[in-house]
């Protein structure tokens, strides 16, 4: 799978989807759309790429029920819409497409979730990226602070040089939705590693304490489950500059999932894992060990937390021994803890004690 960046090829691939439906009708069969199964049961480790990708299981969406028939009709409307945008040189957000579908009659979307899923379906089937489809996400890109210099093509078509330490305010450099080469060039840097941080509170704490300068690193605020562009820019910096990526999250089952999507690829976007995942990323904390070792203030695991942990035990991305131990330990102690629980020992504890100790274990400090 590769970034196409070729309008004619994108159109041709989309036409294959349409042809499948058309040919089935001509044969006197119900129209269908065949696509890989997008669940954890159908992802496997790709040794060549070092990330998790969809396996061979395929499902057929056929027009024998009203629901899937409507889905096929919507797919056709989306294809038509993409072609129109490609020809007109426009782009739209996924949300805009959802509203535009109001005029699609029987093919209109019931919710935005449906339109997002369908856009992903088409990516998966055509092996194109949504950027090829001229569809933009609504999602918020990350913030970044540190001695990293990039060039970004602005609206006026000029390349701007931005240093993410000297040319930005306290909120840092905002990562745009498109971080591909035609939009972002990585120029130079003077950092030893990148640290991805889950919460805004912790990001701001490290910025205020000057952690990026003291430890010579780039700080990236993930804003929860990271957007594609966030994962993509980390991946590029990791590959092009050979920078280690350290991931610092809350200590709960949902954070484990965030890490998996950064390091191994997310289930929903397994078709483009090799673009988004950074296999060498390491998980710094909070670990189940940390909750005990630092005696952190913690919360009881909820029923949903426990379900999520149990699901992770059978998730191929968490199959290795270290993760199995961490998950089992968390289930055993029945506790979870937030990053900011480190403040129990004072505002500087995280930068003076916790992070140096953990980075030391990783050989980075």
């Amino acid at each position: 799978m590769a970034r196409v960046n070729d309008p004619e090829l994108t159109k041709a691939r989309l036409h294959l989807v349409v042809e499948e439906m058309y040919d089935r009708i001509v044969k006197g069969e119900p129209p269908t759309m065949t696509l890989p199964v997008r669940t954890k049961n159908n992802i496997g480790f790709d040794k060549k790429l070092g990330v998790y990708k969809y396996g061979k299981k395929r499902s057929t969406r056929d027009a024998t029920s009203l629901g899937s028939a409507k889905n096929l009709l919507r797919a056709l409307h989306v294809v038509e819409f993409i072609e129109e945008m490609i020809e007109a040189g426009k782009s739209s957000t996924l949300r805009e497409m959802y509203y535009i579908s109001e005029s699609w009659g029987l093919g209109k979307f019931g919710s935005q979730n449906e339109s997002n899923n369908l856009a992903e379906d088409l990516e998966v089937v055509t092996t194109c990226l949504r950027e090829d489809f001229k569809l933009r996400p609504e999602e918020d890109g990350a913030r970044m602070i540190g001695n990293v210099t990039i060039e970004e093509l602005n609206r006026r078509g000029q390349w701007m040089t931005i240093n993410a330490r000297d040319d930005v305010g306290d909120s840092g450099y905002g990562v745009p939705y498109n971080v591909e080469i035609e939009k972002i060039r990585l120029k130079e840097h003077d950092v030893n590693f990148l640290m991805a941080i889950e919460t805004g509170g912790m990001f701001d704490r490290l910025v205020e304490n000057g952690f990026d300068e003291e430890y010579n690193c780039g700080l990236i605020h993930l804003k929860g489950q990271p957007a594609r562009s966030t994962r993509r820019i980390m991946k590029r910096m990791n590959e092009e500059w050979d920078l280690p990526v350290i991931v610092f999250l809350d200590g709960d089952p949902w954070s484990f999932r965030i890490f998996a999507s950064i390091a191994y690829g997310a289930i929903k976007t397994a078709h483009i894992s090799e673009y988004l995942a950074t296999p060498s990323a390491s998980y710094l904390g909070i670990t189940a060990d940390d909750i005990l070792a630092y005696d952190l203030p913690s919360d009881e695991l909820s029923k949903k937390d426990i379900e999520a942990l149990n699901a992770e035990l059978s998730d191929p991305r968490f199959a290795d021994g270290w993760w199995q131990d961490q998950i089992n330990m968390m289930l055993e102690i029945g506790k979870k803890a937030e990053q900011q629980s480190l403040a129990k020992y004072g505002l500087d504890f995280v930068t003076d004690t916790y992070l140096p100790e953990k980075l030391g274990e990783m050989g980075l400090a």
Partner: protein, 687 residues
Amino acid sequence: MVIRVAGIADKMAKNQKQIAISEFFEKNKHFLGFDSLQRSVITAVKEAVDNSLDACEEARILPEIKVKISKIDSKKDILELQTEDNGPGIPQKSIEKVFGQLLFGSRFHAIRQSRGQQGIGITGVVMYSQLTTGKPTHVLSKVASDPTAVSVNIGLDTRKNKAVKSDQTRIIWENDDQTMKEHGLRVTTRMKAKYQRGRQSVFQYLRMTSIVNPHAEITFTDPDGETFHWPRVTERLPAKVDAIKPHPHGIELGQLQRMCRESSDSRMTVFLRQNFSGVSMRAAKELCEAAELEITTKPKSLKPDDVRALLEAFQGEREVNGKAIKLLSPPTNCLSPIEEMLIKKGLSKTIDSKFVATMTRAPTVSHGNPFQVEVGLIFGEGMVADKHVELLRFANRVPLMYQQGGCLLTKAIESVDWRQYGLEQAGGKGVPKGPAAILVHLASTNVQFTSEAKEALSDNEFVFEETRRAMLEMGRGLRKHLEKKKKMAKTREKFELINDILPAIAEKSASILERPVPDLAGSITKIMSAVICNESTTWNKETKQVDVSITLFNYTSRSRSYSLLVNWPEKSGGEMVENERGGRKEAMGIWGWKIETLEPGEKAVLEYSLSNLEKGDWTETEVFFRGSQDVIGATKLDEKMLVEIRKQEEILNQSEAPAEEGDANVTYEPGVVEGDSGQTTLFGGEN
């Protein structure tokens, strides 16, 4: 002095009598229906309205009844009740009797179904009014033969317990539109009473009355001046019922003694044959033999022991040659059921809903008393879903509003496990919950109540069983309806798929690829891969007919052949017209057509209309099929059930023929409900 003393004595005597009447009321107010201020006004309305309906029915007039209640003095709880009808009116000379005597009238002796069995009569209202307000009741009455109406105040002479007339005049009675009132009665009376709303209210009483009297037009104005109107939904008056003679199985000793005493017949056989129903010549002779009485004995001369012996013979305790004496069933034409169609209309008019099922069981006999059970079930989204269903109980067209829990009809409803029919019911017992109302009507010549209050029917296994069976049938109908609704929704989806979505997919894909729009027939067959039946039953405003259209689609890859059958309201007088495909009658209310070959992708359309019906009479047609491949939207015909329906039809035809007296074949055992009342339907048997 002497004079004064005498005056006081007179007064005291008067007072004593006054006290006696008050005491009579006080002691009996429970069964008189005046035991609370709230109930008193309901009872008064009930007495007046029942009289009006009975009078109209007897005179064969379509009733128009107006009821108005106004507050006169809120502090003292004084209300004024005015009821007006368009009945025959009461002749001037009878007014005193009707309004001033307790238990006036002949209906207590005649054996037939009537409303007035229940209650003290309008005299009670006059009495209550006088006792609580001291005021007389005003009566305005016009009979058709007189040019003017009589206006008179009726009070009660509490000493002599008879009516006292005052201010009697004759006036011209005009309607609101200044036309002359042809005939009718208006009663205006004041009483101490409280008006309330809710389950037990004048409103509810009139609403229920209008359900079981669909031929009546009822208007009600409440004390706030709000007017409610329940329109007439049929021009058909209830069938005129004949009075019947008592049946030997249903008679009691006292009544038999009285009948003997008052008889002027010369011989026992004549007495038995002419005063009782169900007694043939042979039976009369056998009864005498069993009771050891001479045929020639004069009934008047019977001794108490003789009467007792006769009663024992009646009840089968005495036999002839070791065999019970065979008696004929009493005739059942003394009953006036509301009938399925009219219950349906009555229910539909007061409750807005989608599904109404009704059933009138065949008349049957318990202990010599003919009775008949009718039920109705209405179900729909418009009603409250999380409350107990509303129970509407009636005896001889009179609403029963109190003592629901102790009533036989309630018990019969509670005995059904409604969960299997789609209603909620905790533990499968008790009154079910759901958006539904259940109606039960018992028509009988002898309604047995648990108490003098006459609000709950006492236990009777035959009535219970009849009611229960009818409920089960209703339940099956409801389940069928719900299943059908589900299936219809699925079928509708499939049709949307092939009629709208699939063509859109074909067109859109063709336009994107710039190729011709492909033919859809093959895909449609593969998607549906079934035979589908679509039924529509609609009221045609212009022709005043019900138009039925049934379409059978063959969406399979082979050609098919079927017989399609439908139910239609033949029993209720509907006529099938414009049925161009012909077909044939398969049984009472069941019509069938043969569809020889239906090629893949083809459809067959059956169309016909039903005339002689009114709007709302027939809203859903059930389609059955004979054939190997299942049909979505139709039910596979159960042949056994069809045979059963044909059998019942035969029985019905036989019983409709006038019964020959002395026909010893049509006999029955005392207290046994005959057969299954002939009531199987295609919904299934008694399972």
